[in-house]
């Protein structure tokens, strides 16, 4: 139950804008703003554009295929360490899949939740580097711990993302109902 102070704050939120920022703030912000990218006034010749796209696509595809081949050699999973971990890994992957389906992962605006996507990216990079060097680790138990830890951290971040999305949706609904 809210006490007197909590009630007062909740009922008077608009009255707590006591201090005013310095006038010079705006000037500093204005200087820090990046002007929007100007769109080219005239379109390229179509053949130039088509050739560039073709070249770029070929290059990107080649790099991706090369990386995939390279990674496939070094990457390992829990199942590679011991068959008894197959089910465990499956469970983790299932949980990840379920959360990503629930939040429609591909449609989530990455800039809105940048801090979480950054954490996910760092986690993936660490995991990828570790899996490349997996043959150097002789201690099986340590390997399992690291891989399990990776899955658990990933699930935790994804759950956090799901929670933030829900929270924003609720806030938006409450904002809309107030209008």
């Amino acid at each position: 139950m809210k006490d007197e102070l909590e009630k007062f704050v909740a009922e008077n939120t608009g009255r707590f804008d006591i201090e005013t920022p310095r006038e010079s703030s705006w000037e500093a912000i204005r200087k820090g703003m990046t002007p929007p990218q100007e769109k080219p006034k005239r379109a390229f010749h179509f053949w130039k554009l088509a050739a560039s796209i073709l070249l770029l696509s070929t290059l990107t595809l080649s790099i991706l295929l090369f990386r995939q081949m390279k990674n496939a050699e070094g990457l390992a999973s829990l199942a590679d360490i011991s068959p008894e971990y197959v089910q465990l890994e499956k469970t983790y992957q299932q949980s990840i899949q379920e959360i990503t389906n629930r939040i429609e992962y591909k449609k989530v605006d990455k800039t809105e939740y940048a801090w979480l996507f950054e954490e996910l990216q760092v986690l993936e990079e660490l995991n990828e580097n570790f899996r490349k060097d997996i043959h150097k680790v002789r201690d099986k138990e340590r390997l399992v711990r690291i891989l399990v830890d990776h899955y658990e951290k990933k699930i935790k971040i994804l759950k956090r993302l799901e929670h933030e999305i829900k929270r924003d949706e609720q806030k938006k609904e409450s904002d809309d109902s107030r209008v």
Binding site: D3, F16, D17, E19, M33, P36, E112, K172
Partner: protein, 169 residues
């Protein structure tokens, strides 16, 4: 409308948005950090971040909520860089006070600024920004129970100050 104009590069729209939201965001930062000068820098940093990322604002939430999240995260990034001091709660602080309180926004604001840093941040996030203790715990890398006790500590300290302010009127 200002948001759409800003997306097209209209500086006046940016200025209008700044005028509309800067005071609220500035006071939010002061309540979280307790430092007016630092809040001034963080305010500029947050507005620059928001304006430069305006194309990514998809209007899923109101502009104010979107901007507030950037502002709060900017403050929390700053806070995480230094280790916050969460002084344990003293017994004499938790006692319930049944005295009258000076419930005046300006007085409350001034006393929030003077609260010890760890509990002030928790109080500001919980009381003013609608964060749950679970969310505060995750953001500040503390336990949920620490968040709860620090909130009680901040509230008790604040109540003592507000009670004194009431009788000194």
């Amino acid at each position: 409308m200002w948001v759409e104009q800003l997306k097209k590069g209209d500086e006046t729209a940016a200025y209008n948005l700044y005028q509309a939201y800067s005071s609220n965001m500035y006071n939010t930062l002061i309540r979280i950090t307790g430092d007016s000068d630092l809040s001034q820098d963080l305010l500029q940093e947050a507005f620059i971040k928001a304006f430069n990322a305006i194309d990514s604002y998809r209007q899923k939430s109101s502009f104010g909520s979107w901007l507030k999240r950037i502002v709060v995260n900017t403050a929390l990034e700053q806070i995480r860089r230094k280790k916050l001091d969460f002084t344990p709660i003293e017994e004499d602080v938790v006692q319930e006070i049944d005295e009258e309180l000076s419930l005046n926004p300006k007085v409350i604001h001034e006393h929030i600024k003077k609260l010890p840093e760890g509990c002030r941040t928790v109080l500001s996030l919980f009381l003013f920004e609608d964060f749950s203790h679970k969310e505060i715990a995750e953001k500040l890398n503390i336990s949920e129970s620490t968040s709860k006790t620090q909130y009680q500590r901040a509230k008790s300290l604040l109540r003592i100050k507000l009670s004194k302010a009431y009788y000194e009127r």
